[in-house]
């Protein structure tokens, strides 16, 4: 028999318990909290003067869940309910400005708001009525929408400040769990309040930045702190542009005898929840049309290059005071771009183009102030004529909007702010926007009438040419022909320029329905294929700009025979130059009989360049000239539900605990004073140990 002494028995116990520990583990936290994983928070944005968005307290905001049934039901959380603060759960039809403002005014009783997106309301635009009114074209009497209110349905909800968190739930299962919890515990029975324990929700969306951009940039840059905390980040994205005849990209500034026609479109959109942006009519329709036009022009411009160059420019960040276009204009003015403003001949911008049905019109908007100058007016008239003649044989026509009508919000306004350049903005609205969901989450595929027959698989849906795609194709054809004529191209070639409806419908499907499809995978680079996730590419700026870059590259560039290593270092080859072109290695399609993709190298003139507002380069955080928008940083975003006990129970538990503490202190004191009486055991003779 071994003698198990104290030492080795300790080791044995330790090993036994360690083995058991690795086998099973039960977390108390999991039994209490139900985590909600699929949520989108409303974040705080700051500009030179204001902060907008939502803020939670640093340890989260907890409130008793209340599912709002109607606007009259708001009485319960705001005044009648006996257990404030409340966490109000709204369906999307109740997410209106009046309800949100009432809750904002009673924010001591409202701990937060959770929005469940369901059916689209009839119209909803959380943007302002006069988008980008301070950073567009400088006009004295026409500014601030004096003459035309562009977005009359706008309620300005996106630009309000809330001091409680507002979240949006993305997943139906989680909504069901919350509603079940509410019905089990929180229902009002016969007018009297519900009994504890109640179902509560806690939302964490603590934002670091406050006050305005100048404050948060200053706090991010303070020197003497040992580990400086970045408090906010400037908003910005990437511009994507391509010349049909590219220049040496290191030669900045004016190019002698070069005249460029700019074809512009905006890429971005927003919603109340920044990550929810879809922008089907607001932006996708415009840039898809321009991409299709670029593809249509490829053949003709290679066979018979026109006298003027054409620059396809896709601007990002336009919704936040024209970040992308102001960056390009700034670069042009300061000789940091391959051409400058003197080289720009005219501008054609594609705005919101939702064609309702065949035979409807698209409107041409121009700037009345710059047209007072006769040369500019002549050029604009010339451009309008080119556009009119481009619709010959197509199912729609262009109509000029009223002469005295100002220019709608568009990237062209930033160019006009710098110089009077002739230009036209194409749009589907004559005066105010037709878009009922401008800059809102509901501006999605359904709003553009993208409907597919129900029995198609995703791949078949990708190829199916919808009516929307057909009408956008016609617009793209007209735009391409007009650009060709405007650039001085040969008139005989014009009728050969046609946009491809298959490309248009594939792009619409990819940007608005499902971005992880086979065509998008084929045009992207291998290292970027994870960028395409299940939900729409428009929500993520990175994904969107990469997609547009690679699409433009594939549609206007040439496939080469270079191998992958040559594609990474093409300068070693005699005829290739990275100063003029960029070389992209794309995945390619999977041929029907194999599993290996046929990847290849595309030589293209497309560039994707970071676009941050010039105000941050200049360090002028209170700029009235450029966009000063920043987004607050935050540590984590979390939401969870659990049951709460009544305040009385909590206080009683605390009281009992304190009482036990004092009792034990008293008992210990008495025992220690009477120790000699209580512990009068036989005294062992004290060993003289010292």
């Amino acid at each position: 028999m071994w003698k198990i002494d104290l030492e080795s028995s300790k080791w044995v116990t330790f090993i036994v318990f360690w083995l058991f520990k690795n086998v099973s583990c039960n977390s108390v936290a999991q039994k209490i909290y139900v985590e909600l994983n699929n949520t989108v928070p409303c974040v705080r944005l700051l500009n030179a003067t204001h902060q907008i968005g939502c803020q939670s307290s640093i340890s989260g905001d907890t409130g008793v869940i209340h599912v709002l049934e109607s606007e009259a039901d708001l009485e319960w959380p705001l005044s009648k309910g006996p257990n404030p603060p409340y966490m109000v759960l709204l369906e999307s039809s109740l997410f209106t400005k009046s309800i949100m403002m009432k809750m904002k005014n009673a924010s001591s009783r409202v701990a937060g708001v959770v929005v469940v997106p369901k059916t689209s309301p009839r119209e909803f635009s959380p943007h302002t009525t006069c988008p980008n009114e301070n950073t567009g074209r400088r006009i004295s009497n026409l500014a601030h929408c004096n003459q035309t209110v562009w977005n009359p349905r706008g309620n300005g909800l996106s630009y309000e400040e809330f001091d409680f968190p507002v979240f949006s739930l993305k997943e139906d299962n989680e909504t069901e769990v919350i509603k079940q919890c509410y019905f089990d515990h929180n229902r009002v029975v016969n007018g009297s309040g519900p009994q504890y324990p109640l179902c509560a929700m806690q939302l964490f969306s603590h934002m670091f930045a406050v006050t305005d951009t100048a404050t948060c940039m200053r706090r991010s840059n303070i020197d003497f702190s040992s580990s400086p905390v970045m408090v906010c980040d400037p908003l910005g994205g990437y511009n994507v542009w391509a010349f049909i005849r590219p220049y040496n990209s290191t030669a900045f500034g004016h190019k002698e005898n070069e005249s460029v026609v700019i074809a512009a479109a905006r890429l971005d959109s927003r919603a109340f929840f920044l990550q929810d942006s879809t922008g089907a009519e607001g932006s996708v329709s415009g840039f898809v049309t321009l991409l299709a036009a670029a593809q249509a022009l490829r053949q003709a411009t290679q066979e018979a290059p026109p006298t003027r160059n054409i620059l396809f420019a896709f601007f990002h960040g336009e919704v936040f005071d024209y970040i992308g276009s102001s960056r390009m204009v700034y670069n042009m003015k300061n000789n940091k771009f391959v051409i400058d403003l003197d080289n720009v001949h005219s501008i054609l911008e594609i705005g919101q183009v939702k064609t309702l049905r065949s035979g409807s019109n698209l409107f041409l908007h121009s700037d009345p102030v710059s047209r007072r100058n006769n040369t500019v007016d002549d050029e604009v008239t010339n451009l309008v004529n080119n556009l009119h003649s481009s619709t010959a044989g197509l199912n729609f026509s262009f109509v000029e909007s009223g002469f005295s009508q100002p220019l709608p919000p568009s990237s062209f306004q930033r160019f006009l702010r710098a110089r009077a350049i002739p230009g036209i903005v194409l749009a589907d609205h004559q005066t105010a926007f037709n878009n009922r969901y401008y800059e809102s989450f509901y501006d999605n595929a359904a709003h553009l009438n993208l409907t597919y027959p129900s029995n198609l698989s995703p791949e078949e849906q990708l190829e199916f040419v919808t009516d929307t795609a057909k009408s956008l194709t016609e617009v793209a054809t007209a735009v391409a022909r007009a650009l060709f004529k405007q650039a001085g191209g040969n008139d005989s070639q014009v009728n050969n320029i046609n946009a491809d409806p298959k490309t248009v419908t594939q792009m619409l499907y990819g940007f608005l329905v499902r971005s992880n499809n086979s065509w998008f995978q084929a045009v992207m680079a291998p290292e970027l294929k994870d960028v395409l996730r299940e939900h729409s590419a428009t929500t993520d700026a990175n994904a969107l700009t990469y997609l547009v870059q690679y699409l433009l590259a594939n549609l206007t560039g040439t496939a080469t025979n270079l191998t992958q290593s040559q594609c990474k270092k093409p300068d070693e080859l005699p005829n290739e130059s990275t100063y003029v072109y960029s070389y992209l290695w794309v995945q390619g399609m999977v041929p029907p009989n194999s599993t290996q993709r046929e990847s290849f190298c595309v030589r293209t003139a497309v560039r994707r360049v970071m676009a941050v507002s010039p105000a941050f380069d200049l360090g002028d955080y209170v700029s009235k000239e450029y966009s000063t928008w920043t987004e607050s940083q935050r540590k984590f975003i979390k939401a969870r539900i659990f049951l709460v006990a009544s305040r009385d129970l909590e206080m009683m538990t605390l009281g009992v605990g304190v009482a036990v503490l004092f009792t034990s202190l008293l008992v210990t004191y008495f025992v220690s004073t009477k120790a000699d009486v209580l512990f009068s055991a036989v005294r062992e003779p004290a060993n003289a140990a010292y």
């Binding site: 803020q55 640093i58 603590h206 934002m207 670091f208 930045a209 406050v210 006050t211 404050t215 200053r218 706090r219 303070i222 003497f224 702190s225 905390v229 408090v231």
Partner: protein
């Protein structure tokens, strides 16, 4: 350190050291002086050095009160007005709280 075992002259030197040290912007030395030597100065029966120890303790107490008043005033003002001072407030702060003005 047990003051019981020290001879009176050493108590006096100790008290003087703490008193003089407090002038180097170290009010805690005065606090220690007051607390430690209070019994010695005012409670114990008289001995030769007690008078001087008494003066040192009284002056330390005065200096301590002055420091407490100044610091309390400054801290109250700073905590109250830091947000309004904007840039100056940020440059005076070592850690700036996140998410509140």
């Amino acid at each position: 350190m047990n003051l019981e075992r020290l001879p009176n002259e050493e108590k006096l030197t100790l008290c003087r050291k703490y008193y003089l040290g407090g002038f180097a912007f170290l009010p805690f030395l005065w606090l220690v002086n007051v607390v430690w030597f209070f019994k010695e100065a005012f409670v114990k029966p008289t001995y030769t050095e007690q008078l001087q120890i008494k003066t040192y303790v009284k002056r330390s107490g005065l200096g301590l009160l002055l420091w407490v008043a100044v610091l309390t005033t400054w801290i109250t003002i700073f905590q109250h007005f830091r947000a309004e001072w904007g840039e100056v407030g940020d440059y005076l702060s070592f850690t700036i709280p996140l998410g509140i003005p």
